[in-house]
Subunit: 188 residues, 2 copies
DNA sequence: GTCTATACCCGGATAGAC
DNA sequence: GTCTATCCGGGTATAGAC
């Protein structure tokens, strides 16, 4: 799948990422990208087969960056789920357009390096104790919070952290699924 | 703000919604909409000022439908948060393109009827017991789960319900925010 | 590896006649 | 309230010369 890129192609992808991050998804066109590189849009096709490949390459570096950000803080002694949430949020809000490109559509898995998805997902799975369903639920929460922030769905000017704390606590507090009502387990 | 629509404009919006739901956001153009109505795209501007107004009107009816769906099941005896989750998910998956139009961008609040947002949000606030932070966290979870499903981010072919149950349980189990660790308050 | 030229398609919106 | 004609912009991508 994921064909390796030439050095020149990698450079083009790096500039494309800048363009995306600075001006948004609508600005990411072959023409505008050519402008930034000082060449014509047509010349790009000597380096990348089409726009989908360009986007897939940007997505791939995005996941690599995100995975690296997680790995940089694992095992630093802080509470794992809290740490995950902070790093996840920081990444998304620092790169909103990149984040949306990475999450808005089905992953072009056939154009992505093998194992990249798992690598990026591993820290959360560990943070919630290894249960995949719990990990997915916590991931949905984090993704949802970030999207609400990016789309300005929270009341304007309000601190999002109380909601973040609620979610972090919710996915940390219980050891396993309770049968029905609030019969919280005591840690002992 | 939200100017009232003429009956003809309402009909146009209804057809536009069909077009969106059946063919997706890229298909929602003034030309294609004109085709469905048997008129030219230019004629649409006699009824609606521009495309933004058309989208805002579609969003408004979407929220009205969603609010009605919640209100149809409130107080029917089932567990409130579970009920909310099921109705929320059912709406989003039944109208994926509409759902994304409603959530992908900041709300055009100045073009929407007064109070509509609150009306749609009320059922969840009640379901979590009235705490706004908790409600936002639970909403983020539901929104995130739906988006993961719509963007096919969950492992293909896997049942999403275990993750839904985890989240529902997570936001139901605790009574309030613990100070630091899982020192859940007892309901008394 | 870059260029020019071009094909082909699409979009939102306005003016003015009827 | 509909039409025609039009403006002006944008996009991906290919062919072939240099």
């Amino acid at each position: 799948m994921a064909k390796p890129l030439t050095p020149r192609a990698r450079q083009i992808v790096a500039v494309a990422r800048e363009l995306l991050e600075e001006e948004g998804a609508e600005a990411l066109t072959m023409r505008r990208l050519g402008e930034r590189l000082g060449i014509r849009a047509a010349s790009l096709y000597k380096h990348l087969p089409n726009k989908a490949a360009l986007e897939a390459a940007i997505i791939a570096v995005g996941f690599e960056d995100a995975a690296a950000a997680f790995e940089a803080v694992t095992g630093n002694g802080t509470e794992p789920l809290d740490t995950f949430a902070r790093v996840y949020r920081a990444f998304a809000l620092a790169h909103p357009h990149l984040y949306r490109l990475m999450t808005d559509q089905p992953l072009p898995r056939d154009l992505l390096p093998e194992g990249l998805e798992q690598r990026a997902a591993a820290p959360l799975l560990q943070a919630v104790g290894g249960d995949p369903a719990r990990a997915r639920a916590a991931f949905a929460f984090a993704h949802g919070m970030v999207m609400l922030e990016l789309t300005q769905r929270l009341p304007p000017g309000e601190d999002p952290w109380p909601a973040w704390r609620e979610g972090i606590a919710a996915f940390r507090a219980r050891a396993t699924t309770p049968g029905q009502r609030a019969t919280a387990k005591h840690p002992h």
